[in-house]
Amino acid sequence: MKILTKWLRAYLPELPADDAQLAEDLTLRGIAVEGIYDLGAGNGSLYEMDITTNRVDAMNHYGIAREAAAIYGVQLKPLDVALPQAQAANTPFSVRIEAEDVCGRFTARVLRGIGIGDSRDWFPGAEVAVYFGLLEQKLISNAVDATNFAWLAMGHPTHAFDLDKIEGGIVVRRARKGEMLKTLDGMVRQLDPEDLVVADHARPLALAGVMGGWDSMITPETKNVLIEAAWFDPMAVRRTARRHGLHTDASHRFERGADFDAAPVASALVSRILLANGGWIEGELVDARVAAIEKRTAGRASVHLALSEVRRILGKTEDEEGITAGTVENVLTALGCHLAATGQAAKDQPAWQVTLPSWRLDIEREIDLIEEVARVYGYNRFANTLPEFGEGVRALPWAEAEVTVRRTLLAAGFHEAIGSTFCSAADAALTAPQPALVVPLGNPLSEEAGTLRPSLVPGMLAMIAGNLHRDVSDVHLFELGTVFSGTTEKVDERPAIAFGAAGSLPEQSPLHPERAIDFHDVKGVVEQVLARFHAQSVYFDSFPADAGIMPAWLHPYRAARVAAQGLSVGWFGQLHPREAAARKLKEAVLLGELYLDRLYKLPLRRPIAREISRFQPVRRDFSLVLEESIRWEKIDESLAGLRIPEMVEWRVREVFRDAKLGERTYSLLMGVTFQAPDRTLREEELQSFQERVVEAVGKAGARLRA
């Protein structure tokens, strides 16, 4: 909205600030000046303003002048709306409000013998030509310009009809089925029975509060004019405007709640300007009002306000005195309130009954008045204080576990990513732990984002693919996020983590060869995550491809489930080659997902230090030959079964295949470490342990390599 400081100053003869200062002071009070343009000597500045929708009263020059008057505590000149004596009418002009629920007031003034012509600066307070020139507002004719001038001056829309085109009188009513209206924009519109119209006794003349009609508009030949200034219901105007795809200055104002008491003022302003070019008023102003609407707008009940409440909410100011009764009275009076001290108020605890201005429908409650006091006083004049310290800080029960999981992944070289909350229905079906419990959106951003993600895997795959398709070949990502399941009636949310990798290990070396990341690398990550928690049992298993248990996105022979305390905690492995092909991924992708809600049920592992033996450990290596069908787990179990306390560690050092060993067999180098806490182990003891190891693995199906 454009505002002229020259025009503002006409209402504020004592304004002490220059245009730049005024702009800043207004802005800091929520009346935002976005740009200031110098209009040359004597013309002041043009403000480009952004007024929030709740402050429709300030979307005009007089409203902003009122704000300035309140800020600086200077006088605001009243609008001069004195009119010449009217000539008596034979019969008063007829106005009838039929739609009493949505038209609160309709004033009509008849002007006769009007000369339609060009606008000029008619009299002080009606500098139409100068102001419109500075605003670059097109001059049309004195009648149209007068209504625009009134609107720019004090914000109330009016409309001028050619009186001789009106049959009988005015009826404000809803449109009838089948009625048509040609509006000022030249469009012929089919009216809806819900549209509010200003009609005469024969047909609709205008879309009430939105746009006038073609047939009753002012023309150069017009001699007699009817000035309409009315109050229409915000919702009714909004609906009518929307229905017809219209957004006009008038509808903008009415939609946001017009000033019930402004109609006669606006009418007088327009009439004065028109009469400056000749003509006379016929009859008194016809003023039809709906009492129920007047009561809830201009006639609202006064609001109680106590200084103690002002101070309780607002606190300390930089000025030691704080907010005083004087400040409250000055600010609210300047804004148009009337304050009456209440009888019960004690001397040191002033309180008032505050009568509210008709143009401030946004003020309804005590807190609204407190806000006005703070706003006009200036937010930045309040002190910076801190509340007294309250209670201790409580951590979320899973906060530490989440930090631990994140830290483990970061340490393993995975970058944290945040992916889309949504996925396609197809991806949801592929990755949902329970495909029947997938939640679709009602108004998705796109078809590809039509479903709340039941798993982090679709997002992870999209991000991995994004990297690989951009020739970033080494990818290590994880995402901690919410996954959704349920129905459109009830949605469950669970925390999960997904991780994915492709290319080489997260290591950069100038000398050592790169190594491609593989299944056991991601298994290692899962093991490390699990190792941070205290679980009686953690195990990995897999299921036959045709059992329908393995997730369809995983390679059936390179995937595993991880379980803790008997509950599935997640899945990981290599992406199914079918899915890789569908996503045009040539590289092997390793990925997995863990259900963190289940993991967080486990306590975090609390480290407990044990004595470190001072005695020398002894490592013995065993080279075993095994059938392909015998997996490490079996050897591992057989060694655990020995229960030799001095056998402190055993692990696989190397797995290799050699044609000389025979088909369907492989070889495994196993290192076993013996150590006692209290003595150096004797050769005979070691010999005996070694024999027991060989015997145990032998029973498990391994033989020593010759």
Binding site: Y379, F382, P387, T421, E493
Partner: protein, 368 residues
């Protein structure tokens, strides 16, 4: 070996002791100077330090025993000095190690880059969230969380969004399918702000409340350089007796200084939010130019960063339905909210909001 046998000592005065030990020290030095091979070093060690026949052992057993009690201390000091000398000589001889030529053959190119076990980077949003949360934790705020799929009641109604409020339009809100036939308040949607957690927290506990709420939110916005349908907010809520607007100002002024440096200034503008009154927008002095005006702050010297205000009594009235202690006549409070992406973009010089959600390794690895 040319070393003399250990003589018997007859005089135990200081001069005699000095002479005897000086002679032994000289013998040790001479012998050490000639040491070359590791075998020679070993035999030198045995000669002097050997447990049974070592010369030091011999001195100890013959001289020390023979010494009168008053000379024992003097002798002991000199003995220890000699022993240290022998050990040092041994160290020197042994330290000679392999020849320089042999060592040169083992040279590495120290200018080649080091081998790096790469660690992962925390996401810049997580990092920024954590920074904000820890600033408020230091002020006594606990973390509050709530669901990402919310009801209309918590997201809008209880936050005092009147029916017909533009923010309720499906244009701005992503909704779960098939909600049309449900009561307005029960309809499920993706929360458009973290504010609903204010109500959930107040319903679950009487005042005082002091929480920060970090979280993911969604809007049905077209994506561009600064808008994303997915983004994050941190919301704050402080409710108690005697909480004032000046407390809100002081709290946010402190928090902004903690986040952006103590030179940062704040200023507050009137604004409008349905769930606060009075409401304010907060600007901080431009962190790039210090307030002088630059391209980043559009020459204004200020950057708009967050919204805040005193909790609207209507919001307390909703909470009082379950927790009567939220009586707006007895308690008061403030709330604030900030967009995490915007802060992270400023802090790290990021120009496209979409980069946060693309999972691009080249973007993410910058935050290690």
């Amino acid at each position: 070996m040319t070393n003399d046998a250990i003589p018997n000592l007859t005089a135990f005065d200081e001069a005699a002791l000095d002479r005897a030990f000086a002679s032994l020290a000289q013998q040790a030095r001479d012998a050490a100077a000639a040491l070359g091979t590791s075998e020679a070093i070993e035999s030198f060690r045995l000669e002097w330090l050997g447990r049974r026949q070592g010369r030091l052992n011999e001195i100890s057993s013959s001289w020390l025993k023979a010494a009168p009690p008053e000379a024992k201390k003097l002798l002991g000091q000199r003995f220890n000095a000699l022993k240290k000398l022998v050990e040092d000589l041994l160290d020197q001889a042994a330290g000679g190690g392999p020849s320089d030529a042999a060592l040169a053959a083992e040279a590495v190119d120290i200018t080649l880059p080091g081998t790096r076990r790469l660690t992962g980077a925390e996401h810049p949003i997580t990092r920024t969230l954590n920074e904000i949360v820890s600033v408020f934790a230091a002020l006594g705020y606990s973390v509050g969380v709530g669901p990402e799929v919310e009801t209309d009641y918590y997201n809008f109604e209880s936050m005092n969004f009147p029916p017909g409020h533009p923010a309720r339009d499906t244009q701005d809100t992503l909704v779960v399918a098939n909600q049309e036939r449900r009561l307005q308040r029960d309809r499920l949607l993706l929360r458009t702000h973290t504010s609903p957690v204010q109500m959930r927290t107040m319903e679950s506990q009487p005042p005082p409340v002091r929480i920060v709420i970090p979280g993911k939110v969604h809007r049905n916005d077209a994506a561009d350089a600064t808008h994303s349908p997915i983004f994050h907010q941190v919301e704050g809520l402080c409710v108690d007796t005697k909480i004032t607007f000046s407390d809100l100002k002081g709290t946010l002024d402190h928090a902004m200084k903690a986040l952006f440096g103590s030179a940062v200034k704040t200023r507050f503008f009137p604004s409008f939010f349905p769930f606060t009154e009075p409401s304010a927008d907060v600007q901080i002095s431009c962190i790039f130019c210090g307030g002088k005006g630059c391209r980043k702050c559009k020459q204004s010297g200020w950057i708009e960063l967050l919204g805040c205000g005193m909790v609207d009594p209507a919001v307390f009235a909703f909470a009082a339905g379950k927790q009567p202690a939220y009586d707006p006549k007895k308690i008061s409070g403030f709330a604030f909210g900030m967009g995490v992406e915007r802060i992270a973009m400023m802090k790290y010089g990021i120009s496209e909001i979409g980069q946060f959600f693309a999972g691009d390794m080249r973007f993410l690895e910058q935050f290690v």
